[in-house]
Symmetry: C2
Subunit: 355 residues, 2 copies
Amino acid sequence: MSKPKKTTIQDIANYAQVSVGTIDRVIHNRGKVSPIKKKKIEEAIEHLNFNPNLLARTLALGKQFFICTLIPEAKTSQNYWSLPLRGVEQFASNYKDFGIEIEAHEYSLFEEDSFMEQARVIAEKNPDGVVLAPLFEKESIQFAQLLDDKKIPYVFIDANIPSQNALTYIGPESGTSGFIGARLLNTLLAPADNILVVNMAKGVDNSAHIGVVENGFRNFFKEHQQSPDRKVFTLTIPSSEESDIARELTKFYIKNPDIKGVFVTNSMASAVSKFHRTHELDIKLVGFDLVESNVEELKNGGIEFLISQSPVFQGKRAIQTLFDFFVYRKEPSLVQYVPIDVIMKENVDYYINAQ
Amino acid sequence: MSKPKKTTIQDIANYAQVSVGTIDRVIHNRGKVSPIKKKKIEEAIEHLNFNPNLLARTLALGKQFFICTLIPEAKTSQNYWSLPLRGVEQFASNYKDFGIEIEAHEYSLFEEDSFMEQARVIAEKNPDGVVLAPLFEKESIQFAQLLDDKKIPYVFIDANIPSQNALTYIGPESGTSGFIGARLLNTLLAPADNILVVNMAKGVDNSAHIGVVENGFRNFFKEHQQSPDRKVFTLTIPSSEESDIARELTKFYIKNPDIKGVFVTNSMASAVSKFHRTHELDIKLVGFDLVESNVEELKNGGIEFLISQSPVFQGKRAIQTLFDFFVYRKEPSLVQYVPIDVIMKENVDYYINAQ
DNA sequence: TCTATATTTGTGTGCGCACACATTTAGAGA
DNA sequence: TCTCTAAATGTGTGCGCACACAAATATAGA
């Protein structure tokens, strides 16, 4: 086996004729070093292509990084929000010897208070970093500012609030998700078929990104010539209970019996699909996220396409970004868009297995 | 910051009242240890939940892992085969301090000899592991058996030869790729539209996986009711030169002017697209791989869908599998299918950026 | 010129583990 | 009971680095 021995601090010391202590000083910019030796050392580093061994460094430092996550609760492993968490844990377990410690906190998507409470708990713990899914806009801004004050770096995942000072945003470009949804639905429909967009949110006002998705969806139809007969409706349901959804859909479809395609802007498309099947409605459906119930409906044909936004990857990347920031002092780019996957019956299993 | 100190060998030593040397013996199963102490130590390990610190272990061992890759040449960074290589290098650079060393070897997709020659070179170097894209079936089997003899573990990527003893196969389930291609093309066409499958290979006989893709494609139409008027043709072109392709297509389209959709089973869909555009043919096109020329045609509308098989991920995973095998003695599963991504104009940029 | 004090540089220890080697203990033979 | 050897266990060193502390050198003040 070829052994191209890595160059070590000691090699630099020999080459530059100084002791390792001095080298340490120039590497970390601490203490005083005479300009002459400093230059000599820098040359040696350059010449011998020295890169500190991260293992040895980490071992010597013995630092611990304590990171808290604050994302919606995932009651079962099939829930969407278990996926980013899985990514987080995957990375953390790979790097546990580097001293990464994760503490997961959850909030309810339907209770702003639960968000605030967990935010407070986290703030008291003074973590080294925070991973945040800022789905409640107002409360998230408050929390972000608190973290700013405490100089605790945080990253947003899944939804972005560009006005804040997050280290980075990792997630989809929401508008494009909507746009792609429109494109997919459009391939399934005749030119004049009517379309319905279904939003589910307690108050869309405090979850701006849903609006962004719908805008993206509508933009597709603005950009592409449409039959003047086609209409695109919106229905907002302030709940994600199946019974509520069924009631609102019934009400809507009675008034508008000619809907041929539906786009659901959150991960509850399965509820709509079940309604369609129950009432034997032949309506094409496009939704979001590979949660179990959606996958089931995808496989039985109730949903045509699901859009997935690399949830596991988001979690993984979030921790990695913080890790690189702590260990390498690497400043991430402000926005890290993730792949927007198009999932259908035929490729769904590969996604589930690969995560 | 909370500091849940990891338990170390020394902790075990104190708890079990033995020296670290003895613990080392039971952990690595070397030397003799009295049953009594052995049991005590095992209990301590269990009780204190001891996991050896991988950093310290790696540092102490100072081992180097030398891995060779043998995949088709990528003349430019835009070539498909630069992507798995990128994955390989990404992983290797992340883990360089763990002693991973990569040497990349290439062969020409049109010269079996170049494959054999590089195989020989690699064999002489006695690497610790090999990553192989076995696109020439006969030669790959030869090489695989040579590696078997030398007890050098190897992994297949992108294409599989199940009869061999590869540590694992990492890549798509090729049949499904074809099936998905069919599904996508089908959504774009009217029920009776005729379809053409284009293969490009010097000899399809020595590249079995192309046949598998086409079979998958045709299976879709067997499984789904078709108009009896629809015909699915196959055209095999023994070259990937644009001029050859144009000539063969001309010949074919003159005889069969009613083709409405084309499926190209390798990464050369762009050549077909250019032909279509030149001759103002309105034919829907589905192909493989995010190579630059394909992306261009995708964006200008000449290609409707591209199927991508996580090329970067494949490379990354290949090295990771070998690494885990060496370091943790982890036996991978025989087959690791990767996601089959559906790419269209709207989401293509996110893929390119995310890799 | 000789202290007293900055300034600059060098040395030693530990991080957690693997491994060679030293030391102790148990068992066999006389 | 004593010696000799094998079995069992303990100790010391190094991996490459960070950091506290010790040592050496330069500078200023008298």
